[in-house]
Structures are given as C-alpha cells and as structure tokens.
Amino acid sequence: MGEEELHQLIGGCIKQERTSQKMLYKAFYGFSMGICLRYANNRDEAAEVMNQGFYKVFTRIETFDRTRPFKAWLGRIMMNVSIDYYRANLKMAYTDDLDKAEHLSDGDLTDRKLNYDDLLRMVQKLPPAYRTVFNLFAVEGYTHEEIGELLHISPGTSKSNLHKARQKLKQWISDADSSAAKGNFNNGMDYSPIVAIKKANVHGVYFDKNSRE
C-alpha cells in the first residue's frame, strides 16, 4: 500500500467511514495478527485481542501523527492491548498447556522442518507469563526493568521467566529435532536442518548432536 493511499484511508477512518475502516483493517490484518498471535494462546484468542487493538486505533486515529510511520504506531497499540489481555488473565499466567505439548511431540514435526507455524506454536505453548516476557525481551527488545513496569513484576521475575521460557523452547526444539531425526527422509544422513534457516544463523545454538555439521 502506498503512502498516499494510506493517508486517504486514515482520513476516511477519521471520518468514521466504514469502508475506509475495513480497508485499513484488511491491509494491516496480517501484521497485527502476527503480533497478537505471539501473545495469545490460539488464533481465536489472538483475533479477539487484535480487534480490541483495532478498536483503539479507530477511536483514537485522530491523535495519530501522520508524519510518523503508521505501522509502528499500530504495532505499539497491538502490543499494549496484548499485554493488557495478559494482565487481565493473570490467574492462568503460569499454566502449562500440556495439550499443545502432546500435540507437538506426537508428530507435527516428524516429517517436516520447523517453520513459522512451528515456532509460533512453540511460543504459544509457553505459559502466558513466560511467553509474554520472552516476546517483550527477545522479539520487542525491552529491558527487564521496562518489562517489570509493563507487567507489574520485578526485573528479577522478568529474568526468571525469560530463562524458563528459553529452557522450554530449547527443549522443544531439541525434541522436535529428535523426532525429525527418527523419521529422517535423508536415509541416514547424520544431520538434517530443523528450521528453514541457514546453518550459519544457528551456529552455537544447542541442538542434538546428530544435527551438527
């Protein structure tokens, strides 16, 4: 979408034109949903959170500074809404989703590489408290002090949750790699890539020994 078209849509949204609102919604649906999916447990939950975010966008769009990138502003709103949703459901913050763990290890990854969906599923499998901290630190780039202010936790708790999140992700990647190796379609080759990225990018990351070059 071009800059001019975007500004026209924003102008229409300021006038609360439903057509402009829908076009803007569709244009940034994927980007917004991708952010919310990292914080939510599943697609439906992410959609609900995303719609809350878009509601704020449409009701506050007149405050948007058009000299700034719209995508960054939108992304910020989506992140804040996701955090608000997490804080509203704190009682489930440390619950492990065992169903997803079973689902993942049973065979989703036995015959294919880890891709976006796999990584996303791993992140969604994390307990919400670990997942949120991991997203904010690893993906968004916040410090532990800032995460503490956002989530109303201490920096120490943020560090602890991040460490636990990483441990779980590593374990799942290792499990996924083991599953892939068992059903190795390369017929005995001593390694197979488990994610669709270059080996150089994962140098140093712990994997099962058989996967190393």
Binding site: R43, N51, F54, P69, R76, N80, A138, H152, R166
Partner: protein, 460 residues
C-alpha cells in the same frame, strides 16, 4: 557461550515469527466481530457530571428542610418535652402588661425567698413540710415569664390552686397564661392578680433541662390569702414545681431515667457512590463505598467510627503524578484506581429533631489504609512512547487521620430500633494520598440503615 546461545535463540524466534511471508491470512469472520465492536453504543458519562451536583442539591435540600422545620411553631405537648401551662399575671413584679392590677402595695411585692416563703405564717404551706428537692430561683421580677391575659378579662386559671380548686378572688383576678416550651425545658409561671385589696403574686420559673424552678410569691391581704404554692415533686428524678394539689403537669423526657441522658448505641450499614478526583473535581470518576458505622449518641451529640471499603478511581495530569521512575516519554495523563479501607472518626451535632425525623451536621477525620493502587499511563502518541503502560502498588501507603470529613445527615426512624439514613458528604485531603501523592477529594451521597442497639422506652 551460554549467552550467545540465548541470543541466537532469541534471534531465531524473532526472525521466524516476524517474517511477513508467514503473516496470517485475512478472515472475514474477524472483520464481522470488529464491526460489532464498532457498532456498540458508547457508554454515558453523564452520571459523573451530575453526581456531585446532585449531592450538592441534596445537601441544600437538607439544609432547607432543617430551616423549614426549625421555624417557630405553636407549642404543643410533646412526649419529649415538659410542658406546663399556667396562668400568670404579667404585671406582678414584671415590666407590665395588659390588665394590670396594681395596688398600692404591688410595687412592694417581692418574690419571697424560700426561707421567707416558708416562714410566712399565713401562707398555707408555711407550716407544712414541703418536699423541695430543687433550688429556688432567687426572687425577682426576672423570674416571671411573658404571659398573656385572657381575652375576656375573666379569670382563666390552670394549675394554680393550692388546694386543687380554682382560686377565687373577691372581685377580679387576672390571670394570664404563660407558656414557654423549649426542648427539655419548662417554664412555669403562676401569677394571681389581686384586687386592690389583695396582693399580686407573680411567679415565674425558668426551667432548665430536666428541672423546674418555681418562685412563688404570695402576698396576703388581711382578708384573703393568695397562694401560689410551689411543691417539688420528684418522679424518677424529674422535678416539677406546682401549686399544691394542682393539676398535674406531665413531664416526659426520653432517655431520662435518673436525671441523666442515656447514651444510645447504634450500628449502621452504609453504602455510597461518590465522585473522586484531584482539585477541582471537574474530571472526577465515580467510585463506590460500603461498610459499617458504629455510633454513640448522647443528647445532641453523636460520635461515630467504623470501616468502609472504598473503590476510588480518578484521573490526574501527569504533572501531578509523583514517581521516582524516569520516563523516556512522559505520559499526558495517569488513570488511577485505589482500593482502600476508610476508617472515619466523626462527631455530629443534632440541629433539629421532631418526631421521627432528625437532622445533624458533622465533621471529623478519616484514615485511609490503601490496599492497592493501579496506575495507567496515557501517552499523547503511542509511537513516541517508550515507557511502561502501568504500575501497581500493593498495600504500602497509609493516610492516618489526614482526610477531613464534612457531612449533613438526615435520619428517619422507622421504629425504636431501626431507621434510614441519607447523608451527603465531602472528604477533603489534608495531606497527599497514595503513591502518586495527589490531593484526592471525594464527594458523594450515602444511604444506610441504622439499628439502635439499646433503644430506650419513654417513661410513663
């Protein structure tokens, strides 16, 4: 090594989940849900605008009601009041009045002191033992009360007969009635006018709370005796002075058993809505309170305390928000929500009471035990904002006796045990409140149900 592993892992997921190629596909159902959200009607905030004004109107109505009911009214018998109606001559020993009957001796007539009265040989009561348990007023014209003479000039007598019979006079007798009724006070005057051959007596009593005093003047002509006896009658601590064998004057005082007032203990369940904010309350937010109040009432004074659970949301400018945290981007406003225990210590004074209705005004101090404070930071532009969305403080702050309470209370008794209460109030901070250290004000109206724990029945 481990740190590098962690960084690589973070990068793995960052790149993997932010890849635009893998963005989710649009679903029409999600847009339908979005449309429903956009079509929802906006919530009205009018109640926030009207509540402080309605509270002010309620307070003014209470004040008007109190003024209306406090206007001078025709004296009437009341179970809570002592009433004595006597007929008195306004002339005797007073500044005068109509139907003055004066004799050459009237100017010399003075109210005898008790000793003199008792020693008056011709006084019918002189030789009798009188039961006087109350002090006499010093004699003098000041003891008389304003009295009005009967319209027809005939004798109208009540409660002024030493032997229970209407006093008779040779020719004329002027009597006037004097009524004075105040809460718990009686004024009794018994005057008997006497023809030129007779002496005028005038008695007037000023009664204070739970006591009557009667000064009896008796002057006696060589032929006749006028009596204005004063007897002290004790009845459960109440003292009335009347002419001997005079018709009884009822004295009833609620809560009076042995000459003292009983304290009444009461427990009230209170709920209220109020508007909270910093000064001024133009952008206040509505909160709620509920709890119990214990009170002790003695006479016109009521002392109360208790505990109220309060939810106080408010908005404030970031300029008024105090924090040690250094924001990269300052928020414009801060939304706050405080939950606390409010412990009031109030004193109320009864300005009016009639029948089942009572009106009091009061003041006092409250202490806030703040259980939780939640703050939300609102930025002017989310793009610029590099800072926290909110902050919470749990069970940290206290404000002991630093909130000033002002209230006006209307209470209507349902029966001797229960009553309903309506109370507009204001809470003004004397110090900063909470972690944000703001001057948090509250204005609202409380309603409640009160239960007298030890209601006292009226003595017969």
């Amino acid at each position: 090594m481990r740190k590098e592993n962690n960084e690589e892992l973070d990068k793995l997921f960052k790149m993997g989940t932010e890849d635009p190629i893998n963005e989710p596909v649009f679903r029409e159902a999600d847009w339908d849900a979005m449309e429903q959200l956009l079509d929802q009607p906006k919530k009205r905030g009018g109640i926030v605008y009207w509540l402080p004004r309605l509270g002010g109107v309620a307070a003014l109505m209470l004040l008007f009601l109190g003024w209306l009911l406090l206007k001078p009214q025709v004296v009437k018998h009341n179970d809570n009041q002592q009433v004595a109606t006597v007929h008195s001559n306004p002339d005797t020993g007073t500044s005068g009045g109509t139907n003055r009957h004066e004799t050459a001796d009237s100017s010399k007539h003075k109210i005898l002191n008790p000793a003199g009265y008792a020693q008056t040989a011709e006084h019918p009561g002189a030789g009798k033992k009188t039961n006087r348990s109350f002090p006499y007023q010093p004699g003098g014209p000041a003891a008389t009360l304003p009295a009005k003479a009967p319209a027809n000039g005939s004798n109208v007598i009540a409660n002024a007969n030493a032997d229970g019979r209407k006093p008779t006079m040779g020719d004329k007798k002027e009597l006037g009635t004097a009524d004075a009724n105040k809460t718990n006070s009686n004024t009794l005057a018994a005057n008997t006018t006497i023809t030129p051959d007779k002496k005028e007596l005038g008695t007037a009593d000023a009664n204070k709370t739970n006591s009557n005093t009667l000064a009896a003047n008796t002057t006696v002509t060589p032929d006749k005796k006028e009596l204005g006896t004063a007897d002290a009658n004790k009845a459960n601590g109440n003292t009335n002075s009347l002419a001997a064998n005079a018709p009884k004057v009822k004295v009833k005082t609620v809560g009076q058993a042995n000459g003292t007032n009983h304290a009444i203990f009461a427990l009230s369940a209170i709920a209220s809505s109020d508007v909270n904010g910093t000064s001024p309350l133009s952008s206040g937010r509505m909160g709620g309170n509920f709890g119990a109040i214990f009170s002790i009432s003695s006479g016109k004074w009521t002392f109360s305390t208790g505990g109220m659970y309060s939810i106080k949301p408010y908005d404030e400018s970031f300029a008024n928000y105090h924090t040690a945290y250094v924001f990269q981007t300052n928020p414009t406003t801060v939304g706050a929500n405080c939950r606390m225990i409010d412990i009031p210590l109030n004193v109320n004074y009864q300005v009016y009471k009639q029948g089942v209705n009572k009106f009091t005004v009061g003041t006092g101090f409250s202490s806030y035990i703040i259980l939780r404070e939640d703050y939300t930071f609102n930025y002017a532009n989310a793009y610029y904002a590099q800072g926290p969305a909110g902050y919470s403080v749990v069970n940290r702050n206290r404000n002991i006796m630093s909130i000033l309470n002002l209230d006006a209370t209307y209470e209507r008794r349902i029966n001797s045990k229960f009553g309903v209460v309506l109370q507009p109030y204001m809470k003004l901070p004397l110090s900063n409140v909470g972690a944000s250290q703001v001057k948090l004000q509250s204005t609202g109206v409380a309603v409640g149900l009160s239960w007298n724990l030890n209601s006292v029945k009226k003595p017969d």
